[in-house]
């Protein structure tokens, strides 16, 4: 069967199970958009290529399937760099197709030419420039295989225009052909048996153990196995920013988020533990604080599918390279059999009561506003949480609102939280929420955003309106780049440099309405719940709620950058001495 490269590309995407492409056409990718008209694949036409990338990420976050973005060459490819890097940092499976100038023009500085594979080499798990149409199906199969296996991540296939136009003899490579074409790519799934036994021994012997759970648990679909392990051993669980929802917040063993803005119990439990069981976590600086002072008495079991994470930051006592679900399941089996053979678990009673004490004394808290005072952002988050429909997916941008979202939401199931953790991409939330809603149209999707973030990618709400994707956006609007303001207040003697946006501009309600959304402005605490109820009732278009909140509110607790986690700062109404 003869096909053009463009037909082969679209057919390959169909065969890989693509149901939706987020994209925007242009000169070089034009030939691929013609067969797309005849394809069952839905295409969502974005307003900026960065939006397509973040939508693909949001889609992948909530479905576990790779998000697909397709854009043209040159500026479109460079606009894709941020989402690719974002997906790379957070291990999000994503496949990006970019157009390229024709093979004969490559290297001549042709119109809309750029070195896409060169530029994206360090922000993709793998990328490829395809120079012959007959190589396209294999390149697409490789891209999906690499994006979704091992440690997931973004891949990119760069396709010159003439490769799309020329014809080829169709051949769909077999699994074996894909494997043979990648002799250097064999992710290790099953953990080492002896190491798992060592880990089980340490777990049963530990008196102050903590399960340190990262995003890898979600990537491995291991939430159930994690719960079984925690309940079997009675060990408390901290869920990092990337793992919120992997373990239910209302579970008695859940400590919530640790780290720079983690709650005091979670951060201190890690800090004072004698055994950290790290599952799909990478000892990020936002978790560890000053590495030299991090969890000084803890032995470390580190389970990660990426061998390079072992020992990158903290040398593990027991490194286990493998898929988190398979390793945790095996760990459970080994612990059970050791127990039935008579090994007893060390007494963790004292540790558990210490942790309960911390949780009681140091809840994440703020001072509610008095009548007539400005609206508190944390209050908005609580109201949003309490009035959100069952199963709501929460998406956030980056900054103070992101931390409040993670702190105040009650996550009860995996894949209900989407955010930009590693790269910290402002502007992530609106497009990511759209992608999440496309992936889970049955769920309510709320984006929590800051006024700074919102202004970076708000144009995608036009996409959402036109495509009938009814997401909801809550802007915690304090007229500032709030997190930067917080650092300037605390560490730069309140010298506020270039952080004040504007209380008047833009008019978010008018802007929302101009983009086809319902716009609501909220100034006082009494207006909060009615506005949320109104927003929840809209299901035929996007909604934007502009919460005008107190700019003086800061995110606490806080471990200042570069400090040890022992140096965490609590809100002034909590007494740190009680942490002793």
């Amino acid at each position: 069967m003869k096909l053009t490269g463009a037909q082969a590309l679209i057919k390959s995407l169909e065969l890989e199970g693509t149901e939706v492409i987020f994209g925007l056409p242009g000169g070089c990718i034009l030939p691929a958009y013609d067969p797309l008209l005849d394809s069952p694949i839905r295409h969502i036409l974005v307003r900026h290529e960065q939006g397509a990338g973040h939508m693909a990420e949001g889609y992948a976050h909530v479905t576990g399937r790779p998000g697909v973005a397709m854009v043209t060459s040159g500026p479109a490819a460079t606009n894709m760099v941020t989402p690719l890097m974002d997906a790379y940092m957070d291990s999000i499976p994503m496949v990006c197709i970019t157009g390229q100038v024709s093979t004969g023009a490559i290297g001549t500085d042709a119109f809309q030419e750029c070195d896409t594979v060169g530029i994206t080499r360090s922000c993709t798990k793998h990328n490829e420039l395809v120079m012959r149409p007959e190589d396209l199906p294999l390149a697409i199969r490789q891209a999906f295989h690499i994006a979704t296996t091992g440690r997931p991540g973004p891949t990119l296939v760069d396709v010159p225009k003439d490769v799309l136009q020329n014809s080829m003899e169709w051949h769909w490579p077999t699994d074996q052909e894909v494997a043979d074409s990648l002799p250097g790519y064999r992710p290790n799934m099953k953990g080492h048996g002896r190491m798992i036994k060592e880990a089980a021994k340490l777990i049963l012997a530990a008196e102050r153990p903590v399960l340190y759970v990262g995003g890898g648990i979600l990537k491995a679909r291991a939430a159930e196995a994690l719960r079984e392990l925690a309940e079997l051993t009675g060990i408390h669980v901290v869920t990092t920013l990337m793992a919120r929802g992997a373990f239910p917040d209302d579970h008695p063993l859940c400590l919530g988020m640790p780290g720079m803005h983690g709650n005091a119990a979670a951060t201190t439990a890690m800090q004072r533990s004698d055994l950290l069981i790290a599952l799909g976590a990478r000892f990020d600086d936002r978790i560890t604080g000053k590495v030299a002072g991090f969890a000084p008495q803890a032995k470390v079991i580190h389970v990660d599918i990426d061998p390079a994470e072992q020992g990158k930051v903290r040398r593990p006592d027991v490194p286990i390279v493998g898929d988190c679900r398979l390793v945790v399941e095996e760990l459970i089996r080994v612990i059970r059999s050791m127990r039935s053979a008579g090994t007893e678990q060390a007494d963790t009673g004292a540790w558990r009561s210490t942790i309960s004490g911390w949780r009681e004394l140091f809840p994440v808290a703020y001072e509610p506003s008095q009548p007539g005072e400005a609206l508190k952002p944390q209050f908005c988050m609580e109201q949003l949480r309490d009035h959100a429909p069952e199963g709501t997916i929460l998406v956030s941008g980056v900054g103070q609102h992101q931390m409040w979202a993670s702190q105040y939401w009650n996550f009860t199931e995996p894949y209900s939280w989407v955010n930009s953790g590693g790269l910290g991409t402002m502007g992530f939330s609106v497009p990511a929420a759209i992608g999440a809603k496309v992936g889970r149209p049955d769920r309510t999707v709320w984006a929590v955003d800051g006024d700074g973030c919102f202004q970076m990618t708000a144009q995608e709400l036009v996409t959402a309106s036109v495509e009938r994707i009814p997401v909801k956006v809550a802007i915690l609007n304090n007229s500032y780049l709030g997190m930067v303001r917080q650092w300037q207040e605390m560490f730069y003697d309140e010298r506020y440099s270039e952080v004040y946006l504007s209380p008047e501009l833009p008019d978010f309600v008018k802007w929302a309405e101009a983009m086809g959304c319902v716009g609501i402005r909220v100034d006082s605490p009494e207006e909060v719940q009615p506005a949320i109820d109104k927003a929840n009732a809209v299901d035929d278009r996007p909604v934007v709620v502009d919460f005008r909140v107190d700019a003086r509110e800061k995110v606490f607790p806080m471990v200042p950058a570069g400090c040890s986690n022992d140096e965490l700062i609590l809100p002034h109404f909590q007494n740190k001495e009680q942490l002793a």
Partner: protein
């Protein structure tokens, strides 16, 4: 000498011979702030593969982290760390050295002592070559410097594991096929 053995490690990296693979390796070293001391690359024994010999500085980054990160590159098929005591190493040096007719004889004598070659002779300079152990090349280079080196190019070392006695015998008995 022992400090050099500790500081510089030789990695022999088998990669798929594909466009951009060297850029990926070089980019990784730059991105992760790893130091390359020398690097040599050429096609390997099998079609479609190349072998890169990289001498890495492990003073600032543990070797383990370097090899693990390298192995994450999709085209990297195999990485062997070569212990200098258990491997054969060679490097090639080309140098153009100042040598007026008075000095020419001395330079030629020096080249002969090292069993090097004279590649070209000019009125006041000669171009010489030497292949050998990197340390031997260091000595040779230092002695040439006394005459004034106009231009110098070294290839960086290439290396393969030393055959043990059994493997040596096997190789002799089956000269057509190694391993």
């Amino acid at each position: 000498m022992s400090t050099e053995l500790e500081r510089y490690h030789i990695l022999s990296v088998l990669v798929q011979n594909r466009p951009g693979v060297l850029a990926r390796v070089a980019g990784l070293f730059a991105r992760r702030d790893f130091n390359i001391y020398s690097l040599a690359v050429a096609p390997a024994e099998d079609d479609g593969f190349s072998r890169i010999t990289i001498v890495v500085d492990v003073e600032s980054t543990p070797l383990e982290q370097i090899t693990k990160q390298l192995f994450k590159l999709i085209e990297v098929v195999k990485i062997s760390e070569l212990d200098p005591r258990r491997s054969v190493e060679r490097e090639l040096l080309l140098a153009t050295v100042r040598a007026n007719p008075d000095q020419r004889g001395q330079v030629i004598e020096l080249v002969n002592v090292f069993e090097g070659k004279i590649l070209a002779v000019g009125t006041d300079a000669v171009t010489v070559s030497l292949d050998g152990y990197p340390a031997q090349l260091d000595d040779f280079e230092a002695l040439l410097a006394g005459y004034g080196i106009v231009e110098l190019q070294r290839t960086g070392r290439v290396a393969l594991p030393k055959l043990d006695r059994e493997a040596r015998l096997r190789a002799v008995n089956n000269p057509g096929k190694a391993g």
